[in-house]
Subunit: 562 residues, 2 copies
């Protein structure tokens, strides 16, 4: 990445630590620093593992957690990252769940080319303006220059809608519902962050066309609900559902619905997924019409433009999950999406243990594994020689495996296993014992309990840091206290810009910069939550911005954000 | 496509008919020619449907079959195509099957960036030479020129192996087995053909590293077996397993194993999938070594380079399936991969049918559907109003649905359904009757029978057109008779080039060009089949090439090819 950064000369705020990591690419043998050589920063931390506290330096902590936890490896093209099997498996689990959901709506998967002709890309102006600055262009094939460069898709509206125009000839061709699981590229020059902001990412993009606005809106909201479920039910990450303000909506949409997450460690909001009602903007540009069946029944012939939606969920979700649950021992992965849910580690095997006793123990470990697999639990055993159980415990904790089962000769005697939950920090509280004959019932239950508790804990943190305010004086101090803020707002786009400018640290000149990644960031609107508290009186409640003359329309969630 | 073709000026032999098709992109409303307007060419063909016989003009037939059968839609970037839901579902079925297989070998899925730095791309010279001419380059991000362009992956060896070098620090990190399901781009200037040769395609690419050559070789062959199963057991397409000659092996491989298919309509062979033993070529270039555990036990410290494989199966497989089974009524899709295996069409409903009788019939149709779904059959019903059963029959036949169930009041009275197999051309022979109470058992059996019969039919065609020869005089005439040819050959690369040159039509000057897509094509080696007939005596049997002084080493399969 060092090289590519120097090359394009624009990824200015790339962190030094990241540059160092990526120099490794050319020199593999010195690349993987032995854990033992790393300096300790966390008091009492084990010899291997994460050596920077989450609360001390979130950015460095994140880098260590994702690399040592084997979610990400760095790569020598700036802003691009390798998704290792551990994180890709999470994506596959999300995919399986969501794909089954959209199939109930008769959405069908398809694949459109990654390249978009400039003619098509440029057809919807607002949309183009939204993406033009970050489109990657292929200009050469082999040694030949292409006379017309082709764009690498930043999103596929303009790739797909000429096809929609061909496919949709009659109202009987509606609704048309297609989805893609693919990769997209946005050549951003902002600070990159694995999962959260990368130049290439994986996502699904659903694109649908409907006869009526009502049908389209119903779908937009249904999809948003499922996105919320992906976060809350699968990733154990709480979100707030709402609508984007005009400033923040998708380029070319009528309105954008969104789920907004929260990273307690920085107090910043984060856009989690969006479902857009495109209205008729694109159908007008791409000429997607049908004869109106209602008019036809009345003996008239009228063509109407179709109502379109697009909606997307990306691998960013994995980053939000990591930032939410990870701790100073590494990753903490919710059971429902974990590639490995349970790791079984034999304990109490010493140099004195006889070969027979060891073989017997390992046989029992294998039986436990089979038992759990028979009830659908994803299990791994760690029978590596030459590593102590303590080393193995730390190793799997770093990888965030939700539940550890320890099993030694004493456990065998008692006919039980010792369990240890990854999500509970207190070692004693994390431990439990389960009779071997109860495992098939108890372990799936325990995994569900972990899942539930993780969501509850994260929800509590979000709830405590979502502060309702009506007084501007408290706005910036509350923001600086790592909160997002629900305020009465006029929904004016310029007023929103003012709020952002006023809450930027540079404007404040307070010299504080605990959030190193975004030292000068002001608060922008995250969403207009669907769930509106009482208290806003039309033509009476003032907008939070003291310089705004307008009355507030809605409670709007503001925050610094990713 | 017209435009992009003019643009890069090199896709010279792009067919006029294809250019025309793609002009449609800009003018969607006139694009979808009504089937009724098309001129008939097949005698007795229905008003809708395919109007060119497969045997008369394979190229035009193929275009009609893939577009009318809704496998492919054309796109306005040359050599790129839209995979419609019908074909994407086939790909998903292949994926599910193969993914489960490789998981039994503990292969894990991951995702590597689509962009490759030029430094990495250029590290293995032979590999680079193999791909350089067709690499697409991104040179711009937004409006800025990148100082160092990045390549769009044509394959990921050079993207992945720096990572392998970092991950593999000890023999205990071996084997390392990763797989990707992704898209790749090869900016070819040869004649494009949907599925068969496109500038972007989908595939899986497996990449593994092993301590020993034996382990690596074992895997290469296991994967090849599964590739053969994908073709034979899922797609009902016969293949010949073998090894590529030096001329035809993967750039940078020790040796390439391959499965070779056959398209009877043109008599051309087609490479179906390849599994490469990369040996130590890449591990030497990327410095992937481990300390040799055997040497260590003997008290020495020796580093050995790992043994690597890569193997890939692409969406080309869908094209081979279509070319093999399709007929003059359209697609014929094998049941195991079909998105829809059975379509139920109500029959005998006329203007005189009472609303009650119709409702009753439709309820029974729905019950049949539920029954079949309960045993895992993928079923659709066609209850569209305003279309005759005959129209519907043709429509679903064009889409290749393996089995049609007709159900009318008379069937209801008899407590049975009428079935019609898509794979049998004779209407009477295709038909059958099944008691409603037997459906759950009979239909899955019938689908398996269809699957089996499709493979048997295709195998017969391949077997009849794979001709064993020892006499050069028969070589070209046999080739012109739409055969591939098994001949004794010296395995010399220059001799192979000579055979190709001598069998090219231009060299023959016979003016015959029944294979319009490849009028001047000579025969190249397809593979050295694993299954070697007897008859080659070392130092005695002559190479087939009369001008070659060497003795034959093996029976080699030659043919014109895709």
């Amino acid at each position: 990445m060092a090289e590519a950064t120097a090359a394009d000369g624009q990824m200015k705020d790339l962190k030094i630590s990241e540059v160092k990591k990526n120099k490794k690419d050319g020199t593999p043998k010195t690349a993987a620093k032995k854990p033992q050589q790393q300096k300790k920063k966390i008091e009492g931390a084990a010899l291997i593992g994460i050596d920077v506290a989450k609360e001390a330096d979130l950015s460095e902590w994140y880098q260590q957690v994702i690399t040592k936890g084997q979610m990400i490896s760095y790569y020598d093209v700036a802003g691009c990252y390798i998704l290792e099997p551990g994180s890709y498996a999470i994506w596959e689990n999300i995919k399986t769940w969501f794909d089954a959901k959209i199939k109930t709506l008769k959405v069908r998967n398809a694949y459109f080319p990654i390249f978009i002709s400039s003619d098509n890309l440029e057809r919807e102006k607002e949309h183009l303006e939204g993406f033009a600055a970050e489109v990657a262009w292929v200009t050469k094939g082999g040694k030949s220059d292409l006379e017309k460069p082709v764009a690498v898709r930043p999103t596929s509206e303009t790739a797909m809608y000429p096809h929609f125009a061909r496919k949709i000839q009659s109202h009987r061709d509606l609704p048309l519902k297609l989805n893609q699981w693919n990769n997209v590229v946005r050549w951003e020059f902002k600070h990159p962050m694995p999962f959260i902001r990368s130049r290439e990412f994986l996502w699904q993009e659903g694109h649908t066309a409907h006869l009526t606005q009502e049908q389209a809106t119903e779908e937009v909201l249904q999809i948003l609900d499922w996105y919320a479920d992906v976060y809350q039910e699968l990733l154990a990450v709480p979100v707030v559902k709402g609508t984007k303000t005009v400033n923040e909506k998708f380029p070319g949409a009528d309105f954008t619905t969104t789920i907004e997450g929260f990273i307690p460690a920085t107090g910043r909001g984060i856009q989690a997924a969006t479902s857009h009602a495109l209205g008729q903007h694109f159908s007008k540009m791409f000429n997607i019409t049908v004869e109106d069946p209602a008019a036809k029944e009345a003996g008239k012939s009228e063509h109407v433009h179709v109502w379109q939606n697009s909606w997307g969920l990306t691998t960013r979700s994995i980053g939000v999950m990591i930032l939410t649950h990870g701790d100073n021992r590494g990753l903490v992965i919710p059971p429902r999406v974990a590639e490995i849910q349970v790791v079984i580690i034999p304990a109490g095997v010493t140099a004195k243990t006889s070969a027979e006793a060891k073989e017997d123990l390992y046989k029992k470990v294998d039986n436990i594994k089979s038992d759990l697999e028979s009830v659908g639990v994803r299990v791994e055993t760690d029978l590596r020689e030459g590593y102590s159980p303590g080393f193995k415990f730390n190793d799997w904790e770093m990888k965030g495996i939700p539940l550890r089962i320890e099993f030694g000769p004493k456990d065998a005697e008692k006919g039980q296993v010792t369990t240890s939950r990854r999500d509970i920090d207190d070692k004693t509280a994390a431990r439990g014992e389960t009779k071997i004959e109860d495992l098939k019932e108890a372990i799936p239950k325990l995994l569900e309990q972990i899942q539930k508790d993780m969501l509850a804990k994260a929800t509590k943190a979000y709830d405590e840091h979502r502060v309702q305010l009506t007084n501007w004086d408290e706005f910036v101090p509350t923001l600086n206290g790592k909160n997002v803020i629900l305020v009465p707002h006029c929904e004016g786009d310029k007023c929103e810009d003012e709020v952002k400018a006023k809450s930027a640290r540079t404007a404040l000149g307070d010299g504080v910069a605990e959030d190193k990644q975004a030292p000068a960031m002001g608060a922008k609107s995250l969403c207009i939550p669907f769930d509106q508290p009482e208290g806003i009186k039309e033509g009476e409640t003032k907008c939070i911005n003291p310089d705004c003359k307008d009355f507030a329309k809605k409670w709007v969630l503001f925050g610094r954000s990713y």
